[in-house]
């Protein structure tokens, strides 16, 4: 019994480590890349990293709640993907570019230097 718990704790730690690495990669993608698609993919990656943590903790505590939450997140992410992709299509039509720096209409830079 003791051994099994230790084994569980070890594997939980590896799962969390993997999730953190995935999250960091995703975050780096968000702040380092300009292409909107890559940014979007990175966001999804971060989302799934979080999902992974939920699942791992659910297994560890033998609880159903985190798994249900993970399922809901996946469902919402699917809906959100549809919205996001349609937004990207609209933005591309406006600016003919996928560079995220182009979309700066709400910039207050000039007003702030009055």
């Amino acid at each position: 019994m003791q051994e099994k718990e230790a084994l569980m704790a070890d594997s939980l730690l590896s799962y969390i480590a993997l999730a953190m690495i995935l999250f960091s990669i995703g975050f780096l993608g968000v702040i380092a890349r300009k292409n909107i698609f890559i940014v979007y993919m990175s966001i999804e990656l971060m989302l799934n990293a979080i999902n992974l943590i939920f699942i791992a903790l659910g297994r560890y505590y033998e609880s159903m709640q985190p798994q249900v939450i993970a399922l809901i997140i996946i469902a919402i992410a699917a809906a959100e993907a549809a919205v996001f992709l349609s937004l990207i299509v609209v933005l591309y039509r406006k600016k003919k570019s996928l560079n995220s720096d182009v979309f700066n209409v709400l910039n207050q830079k000039d007003a702030a230097h009055e």
Binding site: F27, V30, I31, K34, S100, D101, N104, N107, K109, A112
Partner: protein
């Protein structure tokens, strides 16, 4: 009882002034309202108050009833309440009677004098407001309510002195009056606070104060008495705060007649009489008051002998007569002082209104040496002025004789011979300068340019006649028993007379003869020097007296300039270097900080995301490390 009518004595002029003010604004902004409307409302208000006051006066005859009316609670602080209360005793109702009567006549006069003025409605607004404040001052039942009226008359006086505000000199005169009064008001406030601290525990109206005054230590009483007198000095233009009164002649002549002769300046005398229960306990302070009065009387009379501006002469004579009143009240002869206030209101208002009539007739000429020969041109003004001049000079049986005689009798009977001598010398000078004015203006032969005189209408001349009657007969209410009369005013106010004088009848006769002699000496000197005075060239005076003993210059040098220096130091050094630095530095640092922070808002989405992560990390670290 009908005590609530007391409040209406004050309320009628107040409401009418409010109505006049609104109507004036309506008149200049929207549709012009004819002057007759302003006249009807403005002139009827003081007479309405007079009528109400008469009903109270009639109820008071033959008994010693005091009417009290508390209108509403004005202030309530932690169990201590100040009511808007009115009190009519014999003193205040007497004051109200002649304030409203003389004031009403001057309103009537003003309706003729100001006829062609653009600000006609505004003028009557100020006038009625002034009457309301003055009546509140007189009818108040506690020093605090009195102070409201006190300040009200001060501010109305300021408005009216600088009435012709286009000329900067008038505005300065108004400021001077206001500031000089302010110095006096400080004394009043200090006295009120001290009185409240020591004697205010059982209520702060006069009746309770009178009861609790005996338990106050004598040093404190002296202090209160002196501080109150400082207030009286400011309002009644005595040495050393008199400088505003001559300058106050910048206002229109009805203003001078109403405020600076008949009513407002007597507020100081009234205050001393009102606080007689205080001054009865401290005769030493009373003596100081009497000496200040005597010096002021003499001082002003000396200056008046050399002035050439008709209104300035009258202004100094007002100050001189106020000095007489202070002699009387200072020596405890309160009823005598109030008697002189009463007679003075008549003949001084008449003198100012006569002077105003001459000034109007001569197209606003004020130098007496440019007038002359007015006797045949305006005979009615001449005769009324002659009566007033005889009254102020102290020739029997005109009003001024009886009151002045009683004042000097009080001074002599109290054993203050120095004051008595100063009073007699002042009487000589008074007769001299008043007849100098009369002879030069009405008998002299200078007015050579035969310009057409400005016509005087009825509303100007009618009050003159009524007041001339008053100047003739007002003294009769105070005929001393020596001459077979009943001293009605002495009996009326006898409840609070301090010293009953015991002077032998022979002495009294001699004193009376001395007074008449003094007046005759003054008149004959003036007659010798100025009767049929031929003024080919307008005399130019110089020297110390003409320059008013350089008092204005001394004040300017030692007080005004010093304060100016301090003000300049504060405004150019302290303000610029310290206050501005702090205030502007703060605002500049906010601007700089804003610019700095605005750089963060650079429209770079990835940067925002990075900042967000930092924020989330900081918060979660905090939650994990600290809140756990």
């Amino acid at each position: 009882m009908s005590n609530f009518l007391l409040a209406w004595i004050v309320l009628i002029p107040l409401l009418s002034s409010a109505a006049l003010g609104l109507m004036y604004l309506f008149s200049i902004k929207i549709v012009k309202i004819p002057n007759i409307v302003f006249t009807l409302i403005g002139v009827s208000a003081p007479f309405a108050s007079f009528w109400i006051a008469t009903t109270f006066f009639l109820q008071m005859i033959g008994n010693s009833e005091i009417f009290l009316y508390k209108a509403y609670r004005w202030l309530g602080v932690d169990g201590y309440d100040i009511d808007m209360g009115f009190m009519a005793d014999k003193l205040s109702i007497f004051m109200v009677l002649f304030i409203t009567f003389v004031g009403g006549l001057i309103h009537l006069y003003a309706s003729g004098y100001m006829k062609n003025d653009d600000g006609y409605g505004k003028f009557f607004f100020y006038f009625n407001l002034f009457i309301a404040s003055m009546l509140l001052l007189v009818l108040a039942d506690s020093p605090i309510i009195m102070f409201i009226g006190w300040e009200g008359v001060g501010v109305c006086s300021y408005f009216l002195i600088s009435y012709y505000y286009e000329d900067e000199k008038n505005v300065q005169a108004g400021n001077k009056a206001f500031i000089a009064n302010r110095v006096g008001d400080l004394g009043f406030i200090i006295a009120m606070i001290t009185m409240f601290y020591y004697a205010g525990a059982n209520g702060f109206d006069y009746i309770n104060l009178e009861a609790s005054m005996a338990s106050v230590p004598p040093d404190v009483l002296t202090f209160i008495g002196l501080a109150l007198f400082v207030g009286a000095i400011g309002k009644s233009a005595q040495i050393p705060l008199f400088v505003w009164l001559p300058d106050a002649m910048a206002g229109p002549t009805p203003v001078s007649a109403l405020i600076h002769a008949a009513t407002m300046v007597t507020a100081g005398v009234y205050m001393v009489a009102r606080f007689h229960f205080l001054y009865d306990l401290i005769p030493d302070v009373g003596l100081i008051i009497a000496y200040v009065g005597a010096f002021s009387a003499l001082f002003a009379a000396v200056i008046a002998t050399k002035q050439t501006d008709i209104k300035k002469i009258l202004a100094y004579s007002t100050m001189s007569q106020l000095g007489y009143m202070f002699i009387a009240v200072g020596l405890g002869g309160y009823s005598v002082g109030i008697f002189h206030v009463f007679t003075h209101a008549f003949f001084k208002a008449l003198l100012f209104m006569g002077a105003g009539a001459v000034i109007v007739a001569l197209h606003h000429e004020q130098n007496i040496f440019k007038m002359g020969g007015m006797k045949n041109k305006t005979p009615l003004v001449y005769f009324t002025m002659l009566i007033a001049t005889l009254a102020i000079a102290g020739i029997p049986p005109f009003a001024g004789f009886f009151s002045k005689d009683e004042i000097l009798l009080t001074a002599f009977g109290s054993g203050e011979y120095l004051i008595w001598i100063m009073g007699v010398v002042t009487a000589v000078l008074t007769a001299y300068y008043m007849f100098r004015l009369l002879f030069v203006v009405f008998h002299g032969s200078n007015y050579k340019e035969e310009r057409k005189l400005h016509a005087l209408n009825k509303s100007i001349t009618m009050p003159l006649v009524i007041l001339a009657m008053g100047s003739m007969f007002a003294g009769l209410i105070g005929v001393p028993e020596l001459l077979g009369g009943h001293n009605l005013i002495g009996i009326w106010l006898s409840d609070w007379r301090n010293s009953s004088l015991h002077v032998a009848h022979d002495t009294e006769f001699i004193l009376m003869a001395v007074n008449i002699l003094a007046a005759i000496v003054g008149i004959s000197i003036a007659y010798k020097k100025f009767f049929k005075y031929d003024m080919k060239i307008v005399p130019q005076y110089e020297g110390m007296i003409w320059n008013k003993f350089y008092i204005d210059e001394i004040y300017d040098r030692f007080i005004v300039q010093k304060i100016k220096k301090i003000s300049i130091f504060i405004s150019y050094k302290v303000d610029v270097n310290i206050i501005d630095m702090v205030v502007m530095g703060l605002s500049r640092s906010f601007i700089r900080g804003g610019h700095f922070i605005s750089k963060l808002q650079n429209a770079n989405t990835r940067f925002y995301a990075f900042t967000m992560l930092i924020g989330i990390s900081v918060i979660s670290t905090y939650l994990i490390m600290v809140m756990r």
